[in-house]
Symmetry: D2
Subunit: 362 residues, 4 copies
């Protein structure tokens, strides 16, 4: 069991919500990838809290590249990005020393770490850690795009409000790199209304994120056990609040017949499928069609409403009403994190398939 | 990218559907675990085809333990189980050399292996390989059970017919170790009717498998990236036809509010939750409640109906109508495979947490 | 801790000296490599016992390729080679149940495996397992050679008798693929005399193996921690009896000054060094010059002479005089094993550097 | 190929000699280990340059623990230590852009990283990186010592001057945690004289480090391929200038007979050996005796004397005379680095054997 992801380009995250910094070390990067601070900053801005629908904790997300970049390009040696924590109010979390917040990792972490965990703000379980993930994606995403591999995630559903599905995948991806990514522009207002309604109730909402990838070469993945589905889901389930991952039509396939679920092949210069019920992956391996998957995001567990729970100190039954700053919804903020995780997983498998230098070759 | 699963107890599968044998090597096993051939045989019998609802390929699944067992106990050195293939009719598959079967890995594998793959019967992608997985579980499952860790999988849905959900999880598991595991006995007949109806139409059906684990200690898993959800899903997506994995209420959580989705804690000797919407896992780490997850199983891609596809030889558009022996449904046969994968993943993480010898300690 | 080597092409060994078979699973192989049974058989014959200077155990080393080969070529899926054990006389080893053989792994294994190890003939620690390693090399060595990468090992010293060092490395390698590889043909007789002298005394001798590799591209290896020296030594120390590994001038460098030890660069189409004190590796990474290293092989621990030891059963002090069949020297038999391990390590790092298909590209 | 070491407690190093900082991330640490800044500082001081026998680059080695420590104890989440670089004079290294320093990694790195490497001061290949390794050892060494596992390294030979071998290993270790560790106090002056003599000649000297470990439990290591010898050597070869590793009597065993090399067992409460020619390891697994090994350290490649080399820019033959600050000998400074690497490797294997919490249990 490890806190590192990847066999070829490996990602290790460190940091606690209320510690000095959060950060990431990326090992195995192709040398010579251009590193643009503005791209990293743009990625970070997409996960930053946004006004009334988000927490009031404001982190500038200034980052320092400690290693692995020279003359504006990756060197190929481990690249460390560090993001100092600044707007920390640890006093808000003194109760948490005592109370297991329902839906959070507090009790599980207490058992795992024998009580030595840094519980302030969720510690190493905090969504804050995803800032480092997103910064890491800022290193590799431009290189993926140069190879024609593009990734986009939209809010497929939020608080019961539906966005439309992907239609023209490549064109759809173009419009998604925003703070609140939807394909049907009219969905944004209705979704935000759901967030505010939940906030007013001292409650929170969840949703479904849908991701598409175009341009992946066919033939990437392993049958047992490093299927592309397995590798992606392995990494995606680390994103806080994700409780389900499905590929192609996913759970809907369970109610289809084979004649509906199969994607018929035909020639269009190369073999393509008429439909994409399998989400671009057969037998765990890319088939050249767009990769499509969805992640279920549960509602933010931190809510203002009173909840029953127990004390981690003395095992007494208690009542908790969250103070501190929190998000009534993190679905929209998680979209760029899903993009980032997807980019990092794909870079890893592509480096395994085509070697160290491939990502930098034009 | 690897065809091995596990950091502590590692599982490597080998074999092709129409090759000499399929098999598994298990590395890192606790020494001294009793090995009972009858248990392995029983596991294998649960995934074997069953009469009219299954393929007519009949494999006795005789197995040979090549290494790692001495005097009826595991030695702790790599344990190899080999299962010879016998009822092979490769002549049925000559067309496959030419045609990419829709819904199968043929085209993806052709791209990955540059045309050198053994395509007969799906080769290394065949469900036949799961026989080795199931045999491997026959080694570790009795040891898990001695530690009080029990695993059960039932057919939650098949061809649109629902089984009831888990209620008393521990008692429910007791009834599931059969060839057609359901909790509501009346569901079996209706599900089988769906299978036969599909078969009559030259078609196939899918379903949903639901799995529960009781007895897992709290505090197992890592936050980034080896969450228990990530580790389980990584391995589960290798099982052919699985296209979605969700934990606890999974995708249904997306439409809940935080106050519904959170599981309140209270004391009952130790902290327990009133509900289990999170499926026994918070922040990627076990919380001591039963682990519950569901896998979406797509309908068997091999169907008798005609389908459009392309030739892998000359890139011509073609029509395929499957010959050969195939299953109109593999949902019920996959249940024991899910049990097996779950057992192997749990053994791996438990060995990582508690060391090499823990599984054998009484 | 694992019984698998390699991140890209991974090798797992299984089997016990007196079990049904020994074998290997190779994962990550390039698809399309020609597999020639005669090459594998030739490799196996080079490690087979030879007349009076070896054990009288005679294994035909018939092997079965269980998976991963189709139409005479690797498929790219896990390739399993199984070598059945036949000439097993377990009765010779009944004493071993009681006595820890000095210089052998018996006591260490007893502690590690809690007494459950298969102790017959050394079990999984037996040199017999290297047959599977050598067979595995028979798969990849021809592919390496097609890429211009050639490996040779000679007996640099045996029982105090010296062979000459490598001079014209590439030409020297040509003469080494024999049963008793030396560069100075006159050394063979004198070395064999030492073996027979030791045998007559009920004793054994050791030696030093020296290996050279030509044709490795420059720029392969990692600085921390997967240096090429680290990767090679990691694997080489598994070969029974190897107790030291040194690169270039190795321990002799400790007594040089920098001005002697440094290898000056000059241009000869590409940069080359005047000397090769560093054995083709700088900073853990290949520099394009021949890789040269030496392995210290201790004398075979099994000897006929009486030795003091203890019983593993009752902890009593005892006297052991080995029965059974054993080698008075394994240095010459280990040469092809060092070749094999070297080939497998290089394939792994080359696959990591250049991708899955590189080894098969002409 | 990775820049991470360890399966259970994993160490990733980052940083370049002339970048913002060097650092380490440790993943998998036991929660609750006390962290004492003074211990870390003491470790760092042992590798710091010392007066006339060392470089004049003076780094205060102030360190920041960025994560993984809370209330003075490890949390069990990834622990990042960052050591800012301060005394950087990059202008000394402008020539290096052009010239491959003989004995250094410059040319190999140039090939590996396609010219994108940070060449200043050796970049990621610099001995400076070992500061992070040594700091990491400051976290785990006190915990190892509490478990009775103690590690000591002395300068066995330097510039031809010999120190005595280990005699009473445990007592000998007590005197070694100094800046210039020798067992025979009289050796220090003579060794230092050799260093100064080389310095006066614009040259450098090498030597041999000898390490002993007491208190390791028997039964740790794997036969194929994670032998303790393999794991230790894998990590040790990353230390710059190490070109050979031998265990027990190492290369001297090659010239012994079996009756000399075998270590006879006898009972002394538990089984112990009369001699320790095998260095506490049989078959790759600890046997309960002290672990003893030696590392060959080549002379520092940077020397003031003129050397022939080539330009990395235009491939011209050139002459190099090193400017900049450098050590005429790094053998003494490397001793604590060998201690550190040994400690980290042992923690990793012990965590694998006994689980996550073992190191913290008293």
């Amino acid at each position: 069991m490890k806190n590192t992801y990847g066999n070829h380009i490996a990602i290790t995250l460190f940091g606690e919500s209320h510690g000095p910094s959060v950060g990431v070390v990326m090992d195995g990067l192709t040398p010579g990838l251009p590193v643009d601070d503005a791209v990293i900053a743009d990625f970070l801005s997409r996960r930053r809290p946004q006004g009334v629908i988000s927490t009031t904790r404001q982190e500038p997300d200034a980052f320092v590249i400690e290693s692995g970049v020279f003359n504006g390009k990756t060197t190929g040696t481990p690249l460390c990005i560090r993001i100092p924590n600044t707007d920390v109010r640890s006093e808000d979390y003194t109760d948490i020393e005592r109370l297991a917040r329902p839906g959070h990792a507090d009790l599980a972490a207490h058992c795992k770490y024998n009580g030595f965990e840094d519980y302030r703000g969720g510690g190493h379980f905090s969504g804050r850690i995803t800032a480092a993930l997103v910064a890491a994606a800022g290193i590799v995403m431009p290189a993926l795009e140069k190879k024609g591999i593009r990734i986009g995630t939209h809010i497929r559903r939020l608080g019961g409000v539906e966005d439309r599905a992907f239609l023209e995948v490549s064109a759809d991806i173009d419009v998604l790199h925003t703070n609140f990514p939807v394909l049907d522009a009219s969905a944004e207002e209705r979704m935000k209304a759901q967030i505010l309604a939940a906030k007013d109730d001292g409650d929170s909402v969840g949703g479904v994120l849908e991701t598409a990838v175009v341009g992946m070469p066919a033939g990437v993945g392993e049958p047992w056990f490093d299927t592309l589905e397995g590798l992606l889901s392995h990494a995606l389930f680390s994103i806080p609040a994700i409780k389900g991952v499905e590929f192609g039509d996913g759970f809907a396939l369970a109610d289809m017949r084979g004649s509906e679920a199969n994607d018929a092949w035909y020639m269009q210069e190369k073999p393509v499928t008429e439909t994409n019920h399998n989400g671009g992956i057969n037998g765990g391996i890319t088939n050249g069609m767009p990769i499509v998957f969805r992640c279920a995001v549960k509602p933010t567990p931190t809510i203002a409403k009173e909840q029953h729970t127990v004390s981690l100190i003395d095992g007494e039954d208690c009542v908790l009403a969250a103070r501190g700053r929190h998000d009534p919804c993190i679905v929209h903020r998680a979209a760029v994190v899903v993009d980032a995780v997807t980019a990092l997983v794909l870079c890893d498998v592509l480096a395994g398939r085509f070697g160290t230098d491939w990502l930098g070759e034009v």
